[in-house]
């Protein structure tokens, strides 16, 4: 019985995520790229929305650029898996957080407003640990 409850909860949570407002949008795609939010996987195209919880993937010889609502800008190279675990951008309520993870592939990251307003609110996880970001641009490559 407990197991059934858990599954129902996950399905509902998936729907809830998809219905939330986008936190960013795709600005460019070259080759194959997708966005998976909850149970739903879409082909990434210019203008496609990204949500909290979205998993962004690129294929071989592919790339994708995404700009988030707080003006954080990112691009991903080939064979990348990147997830946005937590994204809170409500400056008037003091809710500011951007937690993400690069499981594999490459990332070019340019800071936005969240970390200007709240240093230490932005982290990018890697398979080996975590990177805390304070107002800058960096390149990250994760390959197993």
């Amino acid at each position: 019985m407990l197991r059934i409850f858990v599954i129902v909860y996950l399905v509902l949570a998936g729907h809830a995520m998809a219905n939330e407002l986008p936190i960013g949008h795709v600005k460019n795609v070259s080759g194959e790229a997708s966005i998976t939010t909850g149970e739903k996987k879409i082909k990434a195209e210019v203008g496609s929305p990204v949500h909290q919880g979205s998993r962004l993937e690129t294929g071989k010889k592919s790339s994708m650029g995404v700009t988030f609502n707080d003006e954080t800008v990112m691009s991903f190279g080939a064979d990348t898996v990147f997830t946005v675990d937590e994204y809170l951008y409500s400056p008037n309520q003091g809710k500011l957080k951007f937690g993400s993870k690069l499981a594999k592939g490459s990332l070019n990251y340019v800071s936005g407003v969240i970390e200007k307003l709240k240093p230490d609110a932005v982290t990018v996880g890697t398979p080996s640990g975590v990177i805390g970001v304070r107002g800058t641009q960096f390149l990250l490559k994760v390959e197993k």
Partner: protein, 224 residues
């Protein structure tokens, strides 16, 4: 392990020991097949390196030219990167990577970086009436928006601290709504447009409560 290090590595300063150990290990395991792909600062490591770690991070200047900071925490420790070009492994070790390799590894990724967002500040002569200088900025905002693929816009209203929180929340929303109407009337087309009110909670110029401050009576337009 330490006795196996190349002699030149012993002169390296202490913070770099982890990196040297890693390099020494790679060298010993992998032989001397290639020219060194990266080196530890200080002129050590003349021995050829098989290959640099596959995973690494490099700090580069922001588009505005400033250099911030990242803190890399991993299994081997914690490393702060705060200089342009400074690199590290994702385990938290120091590392130096040559430009050629960075270009090879990240060329396509860097090329895919979207245009950096810009934002504009618009001011009000009274209520929801834009100042003439701010009114004249509207065509510039629309022109900028047209240069971007699937442009996303946020229009965020602010007030000064005169009057109550509740009143200012509404006034800021009215200002933002007015600006978005003006932009749309002048031909703005956006992939998404968000209208927000920050009321008196996000002051440009910090003031006490109940203070008139024209610089705080503004609308921000973020063009992404």
């Amino acid at each position: 392990m330490k006795t196996l290090l190349p002699r030149s590595a012993k002169s390296t300063s202490k913070p770099l020991t982890y990196g040297v150990l890693a390099i020494a290990t790679v060298t010993l395991l992998g032989g001397c097949a290639q020219q060194q792909a990266y080196s530890v600062p200080g002129g050590c490591c003349k021995a050829p390196i098989e290959e640099a770690p596959k995973s690494y991070v490099v700090l580069i200047p922001s588009p505005d030219g400033t250099v911030g900071e990242i803190v890399v925490k991993g299994a081997s420790g914690e490393q702060v990167l705060n200089k342009a070009g400074q690199a590290g492994t994702i385990e938290g070790q120091a590392l130096q990577v040559d430009d050629k390799r960075i270009k090879g590894d990240f060329g396509d990724t860097i090329a895919a970086l979207p245009k950096i967002p810009v934002h504009y500040l618009l001011y009000f002569s009274s209520g929801t009436t834009l100042s003439s200088a701010s009114n004249a900025l509207l065509p510039e905002i629309i022109a900028e928006a047209k240069t971007r693929p699937a442009v996303d816009i946020s229009v965020i209203g602010h007030t000064d601290t005169l009057s109550s929180d509740a009143y200012n929340d509404k006034l800021a929303l009215k200002r933002a709504t007015r600006v978005s109407e003006l932009l749309e009337a002048k031909g703005l087309k956006a992939n998404s447009l968000i209208i927000e009110s920050h009321g008196e909670k996000n002051l440009l110029v910090k003031t006490p409560d109940n203070t008139r401050e024209p610089k705080n009576r503004r609308v921000e337009v973020s063009v992404r």
